[in-house]
């Protein structure tokens, strides 16, 4: 595996049984994600985008095939091992932000750092840096209910990057935002990719959102049907 390859899927399949019927989502899916990629995955509903994202994030396991991350195979890890692996390697951004409503912005951003060995002082410093990066240093003490959707998503981005993960996974990150705010968020992701070298995989329905990515993969019926590389 090349030094530049961060993720590699070899012959991955995913199926589940519903009643007497076996439903296949993927069959023999192959994919490579290189460090520094900003990859958009598009496709119609039911094409398997979110299932693929869940497998990349280690919250779902494939039925067959191999998933390699940074030179190590992760599809055979136990649930506990995958949880620890996620904590150290993956940052998540959700469509509906998924902030803890009872915690202020700073406390929300701090959550992934509670899984590290950092001291309280170091955690505070990292939180401040992440919030500054997303332009919300003055909102650290605000509760999610006191912020707009765009601001909440920026807090979620700060939470995703605060522990410096190798990969950021975004599930419809602008699906709940208006166009203008969505563009701000996408510009921020692009900045993280271009200026800070973050590898990003984003699932989206929105072609305008996909245009911020360096390449777009089209998924349909469990297969990649098209690949577009940004100019």
């Amino acid at each position: 595996m090349s030094q530049d390859v961060l993720f590699q899927l070899n012959g991955v399949s995913k199926s589940f049984v519903k009643g007497k019927e076996k439903i296949s989502i993927f069959d023999d899916l192959n994919m490579t994600i290189e460090r520094g990629d900003f990859l958009a995955i598009m496709g119609p509903s039911g094409s398997g985008k979110t299932t693929l994202l869940n497998m990349l994030g280690g919250v779902d396991q494939p039925s067959g095939g191999e998933i390699w991350f940074d030179g190590a195979r992760i599809d055979s890890l136990s649930e506990g091992e995958l949880t620890r692996w996620r904590a150290h390697n993956i940052g998540f951004i959700f469509q509906f932000y998924n902030l803890m409503p009872m915690l202020n912005a700073a406390r929300n951003v701090e959550l992934p750092l509670l899984l590290t060995k950092l001291s309280k002082t170091q955690r505070r410093a990292n939180v401040e840096t992440a919030l500054t990066l997303v332009g919300l240093s003055d909102r650290a003490k605000h509760m999610p209910s006191e912020m707009s959707g765009g601001q909440q998503q920026r807090v979620a981005i700060a939470r995703a990057i605060v522990s410096d993960p190798k990969l950021i996974l975004c599930d419809e990150p602008t699906g709940d935002l208006d166009r203008e705010t969505a563009d701000e968020i996408l510009e921020m992701l692009q900045l993280l990719n271009r200026e800070h070298g973050k590898t990003i995989v984003m699932v989206t329905h929105d072609p305008a959102a996909a245009r911020y990515a360096s390449q777009t993969l089209y998924l349909d019926k469990g297969k990649f049907v098209q690949r577009e590389v940004a100019a």
Binding site: V59, T83, A87, P112, L115
Partner: protein
């Protein structure tokens, strides 16, 4: 590495617990219902235990092991016993009994039942009227006149236990009271340190013999022992005197046996509390399952971020424990405020009312706390298990 994981687990668990507690206002009414259910169960348990403890203290505090109590064989309670004057005379000659300048310290006593009206219900209840003389008074070292004076022997005067004054109508100092054809005057109020004698009326033994047609007979004999607890000389003497077919025990043993009759209170209280705890548990389980459902998205998000199953489990258990402990504290406080020192009366071993006070003590609060913790742990365990074991994808789907 192990300490690092432990520290991280501790930090995660603490963080999840704090988040769960902070999210309680979202489930305010269900959470309050769980607190209230725990409070009621704990309060009821404590009330029963305090009642049993108070009764036991009243009974056990009455008996002295320096006093021997003699009753007719098989009579079990003072009320059922009959003792002749001849038997009293023989006992006065017995070895092992303390003596002073006036002779052996022996008190032949009578014990009859009269009616009183309970203040709490307005209903009639049995009160013991004890006939005794100054020797009998001397044997009750903790007897103290609170008001008035001692009755005059040979008159229809009586003194009233402070428990009777609290719980029954009409026994105030100076009052005249009719029992059957006889009118008695209350000339004093006495205390015996909160024990069972305070639930009695005391009058001259000779007057009671006369008014209740007892001739020269008595019902019990009390005798001060030379050596506290030592019944051997008396037992040996009884074996040689065929007329003395009496049951012999220390006064302490007698009242301890009487007190045991009311142990059913504590058992009944525990059974009632257990049944109620099951009800509370059902409600608490519902509250905690609702909590897990309400927090499904948060639990799934935290686990996606890398928080362990264990932290989700502990956070849920901690939430249940906090609610149950809050209920336990509330119940203990309510039990203390409403029941500690509360006066009550119940039927004692001689079919007479025994006045006693509910008695709260630290060991009872510990039992209440244990019950609250048990409710919290059991009601938290299964929902916590669900929170920990639910696959992240399923949790997200349920929360959607």
């Amino acid at each position: 590495m192990r300490s690092l994981i432990s520290r991280s687990l501790f930090t995660q668990t603490a963080a999840v617990t704090v988040m769960n507690i902070r999210s309680l206002p979202r489930r305010l009414w269900m959470s309050l219902a769980m607190v209230l259910a725990s409070a009621v169960v704990v309060a009821i348990l404590l009330a029963f235990l305090a009642m049993a403890k108070g009764f036991e203290a009243t009974m056990s505090g009455a008996g002295s092991d320096a006093v021997a109590l003699m009753m007719r064989e098989g009579s079990q309670a003072e009320l059922n016993s009959v003792i002749s004057r001849d038997q009293v005379n023989l006992v006065e000659e017995a070895p092992g009994i303390a003596r002073d300048a006036e002779g052996p310290l022996v008190s032949p006593e009578l014990y009859v039942i009269v009616d009183g009206i309970k203040k709490s219900t307005g209903s009639k209840a049995n009160i013991p009227l004890r006939g005794l003389d100054k020797r009998g008074m001397a044997m009750r070292g903790n007897m103290q006149l609170l008001e008035g004076r001692m009755f005059t022997p040979g008159t229809n005067e009586m003194i009233v236990g402070s428990g009777i004054l609290r719980e029954f109508d009409g026994f105030q100092l100076g009052n005249e009271i009719r029992f059957g054809k006889n009118v008695w005057t209350v000339v004093g109020v006495f205390s015996t340190g909160g024990n069972v004698f305070e639930s009695e009326l005391w009058a001259d033994a000779k007057m009671i013999q006369s008014h209740y047609n007892r001739g020269s007979s008595y019902q019990t004999i009390r005798a001060q022992l030379e050596n506290p607890g030592d019944l051997e000389p008396l037992t040996a003497y009884f074996d040689t005197e065929s007329q003395l077919n009496l049951e012999l025990k220390t006064e302490a043993d007698y009242f301890a046996e009487q007190g045991k009759q009311l142990q059913y209170m504590a058992i009944f209280g525990r059974v009632i509390s257990f049944i109620m705890a099951l009800g509370a548990l059902a409600g608490a389980l519902n509250t905690m399952y609702t909590s897990v459902a309400d927090r499904a998205k948060e639990i799934a998000t935290l686990r996606t971020l890398g928080f362990s199953n264990f932290s989700a489990f502990c956070g849920t258990i901690a939430e249940a424990l906090v609610l149950a402990i809050a209920g336990g504290l509330l119940g203990s406080l309510a039990a203390f405020v409403f029941f500690d020192g509360m006066n009550a009366s119940t039927l004692g071993g001689s079919f007479t009312q025994v006045v006693f006070s509910f008695e709260m003590s630290p060991d009872l609060f510990v039992q209440g706390a244990v019950l609250a913790l048990l409710i919290g742990f059991v009601s938290g365990f299964f929902p916590a298990w669900r929170a920990a074991r639910m696959p992240v994808i399923v949790a997200f789907r349920n929360a959607a």
